[in-house]
């Protein structure tokens, strides 16, 4: 594989992209999990699917769209979906979680319509659903790199505000922090990271890359920074391990990555249990 990495550009693209999303997906995932917004990631990934399908449809029907990278339309839909969720959450003040199934089913519905309008796709829609090692282009890599620099810079610069918003929203507002604006920035970052990660892990499994490493690290980490550290570590191990295995065994990378993340989670739960019983 090492020689393959040196030789083939598509492998380089896949691995570099994998390394990047192995950092940013769990990084935002920590905030998503502690704010109990895990399902929003799921809803947005399905909206991203609708965007990708729309882009592929346009590409098929109209010549001028032939060069368009489906990633852009996916991102636009994802960001649009995140704004729509926020709107719905204010409309259904007392049933805020309703926003999620509404957006999720809307996303799938729209995606399926686009796909059927195009009489199914000859293109590798399959690779968007389950991820692919060979599908990542240089252009994808650049887009994803720019997004992750932006996201990491924002998280670092707004770290203490994001922490406070996650831990205690009322207190954040009482101390005069612009909670609404901050949440808005956060949800747009989530939308972008989902669209960026989808190339490798696939739409159906994006949210697990954001949540599983966090679920594992939360079992034993001391404090928030440590939780972030271990989440990123587990995310990296899952992505890189998954890419290696899927390349050698010719498996879908998304599934392999997620299964490694599940394995880490099971291990973390088991080790914690053992440590707890021993200390008694």
């Amino acid at each position: 594989m090492i020689s393959g990495l040196l030789q083939y550009e598509f492998l380089q693209n896949a691995f570099l992209t994998g390394m990047i999303i192995g950092v940013i997906a769990p990084l935002l995932g920590v905030f998503i999990v502690v704010r109990r917004l895990s399902l929003i990631a799921d809803a947005l990934s399905h909206v991203t699917l609708a965007g990708i399908a729309a882009s592929l449809l346009l590409e098929k029907k109209f010549m001028i769209f032939s060069g368009l990278n489906p990633l852009y339309m996916g991102m636009a839909f994802s960001v649009g979906g995140s704004l729509f969720i926020e709107k719905l959450r204010t409309v259904y003040k007392h049933y805020q979680e309703l926003a999620i199934p509404i957006i999720l089913s809307g996303g799938i519905g729209l995606g399926v319509i686009f796909i059927s309008l195009a009489d199914g796709f000859n293109t590798d829609l399959f690779s968007y659903l389950f991820g692919s090692v060979s599908a990542v282009s240089r252009a994808d890599l650049w887009t994803i790199l720019i997004i992750s620099i932006l996201v990491i810079a924002l998280v670092v610069l707004l770290y203490k505000e994001l922490f406070l918003l996650s831990f205690d929203e009322e207190y954040a507002r009482a101390t005069g922090i612009a909670a609404k604006t901050l949440h808005f920035i956060f949800i747009i970052m989530v939308a972008l990271v989902i669209a960026a990660s989808m190339r490798i892990v696939g739409i159906l499994l994006v949210s697990s890359l954001m949540t599983l490493p966090v679920a594992a690290s939360i079992r034993f980490a001391k404090g928030f920074k440590q939780t972030i550290f271990f989440s990123i570590l587990f995310g990296e191990v899952s992505v890189l391990g998954g890419l290696f295995l899927s390349y050698y065994l010719d498996l879908a990378p998304g599934g392999t990555i997620v299964m490694i993340a599940v394995l880490i989670l099971v291990l973390a739960i088991w080790l914690k249990k053992r440590a707890a019983t021993r200390s008694i």
């Binding site: 109990r36 203490k160 207190y171 101390t175």
Partner: protein
């Protein structure tokens, strides 16, 4: 009235969430250095009044002045520390250490894009020590008892060196033995550090010796005066003040320990 002597002034305040007024014609002033207890039955609007003072909600009618300034223009939120009633119902699985939670009290004071400096680390540790939690710096907040968590939240409120500390029923969830030492700690903050305190409580029996002022709230302000004046009220007057909820409160009064708390 000299505005500078008063940290909080509330004038002719009305508030409603939906149709019915939750607060009516509220007047209240808190003098610098005082220790005010607001008492009243459940649903009497105590937490609502605090939220108004913190600017979390806006009144339909009436004025609020903080440190002599209209609340809508007030920007020095770091002068006010706040421990919410909800502080004891937060997500206990949240992975944050005591240090991190207390550090978050400096968020606004530090300002956007600024990081903690060495001097801030010292301040944070001092605040944690001042509530007797020095040993638990690196513990996750969820691993502590209710009373210890409450102390951490007070440290978070204290770390920005506020002049006014607002506490909403802080002893709910604190075990009986610790309630007294907890109030002792508040007294120290008030007397030695000169922090003005506003405490919402059910615990009027225990607290009346420690506070300087008492306000009795039940939609209207039924009494607002010094602790001595309050002591002189006969039990009949008290029942008038509390209205239908008198049983709950006289019950607490007799037990004196304050362990019996209602939410």
């Amino acid at each position: 009235m000299d505005t500078n002597d008063y940290i909080v002034q509330v004038q002719d305040l009305y508030y409603r969430y939906d149709k019915e007024n939750v607060l009516e014609n509220i007047n209240l002033s808190i003098k610098k250095g005082s220790f005010l207890a607001i008492v009243g039955p459940n649903g009497s609007g105590k937490s609502t009044l605090l939220k108004l003072m913190l600017g979390l909600i806006k009144p339909q009618q009436g004025l609020i002045r903080l440190f002599g300034q209209d609340i809508n223009k007030f920007k020095e939120q770091h002068k006010i520390g706040f421990v919410s009633q909800k502080a004891n119902s937060f997500n206990t699985g949240f992975p944050a250490t005591v240090f991190e939670v207390v550090a978050s009290g400096l968020t606004k004071k530090l300002g956007l894009f600024n990081f903690l400096r060495k001097t801030d680390h010292v301040k944070i540790k001092q605040a944690i020590e001042s509530v007797g939690m020095g040993k638990f710096l690196d513990r996750n907040i969820g691993e502590l008892s209710g009373g210890q968590q409450q102390r951490v939240f007070i440290a978070r409120a204290l770390v920005s060196e506020p002049e006014l500390l607002i506490l909403d029923e802080p002893t709910v969830g604190v075990d009986v033995q610790n309630v007294n030492s907890f109030y002792g700690m508040l007294e120290t903050l008030n007397k030695e550090k000169g922090i003005t305190l506003l405490l919402v409580t059910h615990d009027i029996g225990t607290i009346s010796e420690k506070v300087t002022n008492v306000a009795c709230l039940n939609k209207n302000m039924h009494f607002h005066g010094s602790a001595e004046e309050f002591e002189q009220l006969k039990i009949n007057d008290v029942s008038e003040i509390y209205g239908h909820d008198v049983h709950v409160l006289t019950h607490d009064h007799h037990h004196h320990g304050g362990g019996h708390l209602h939410d």
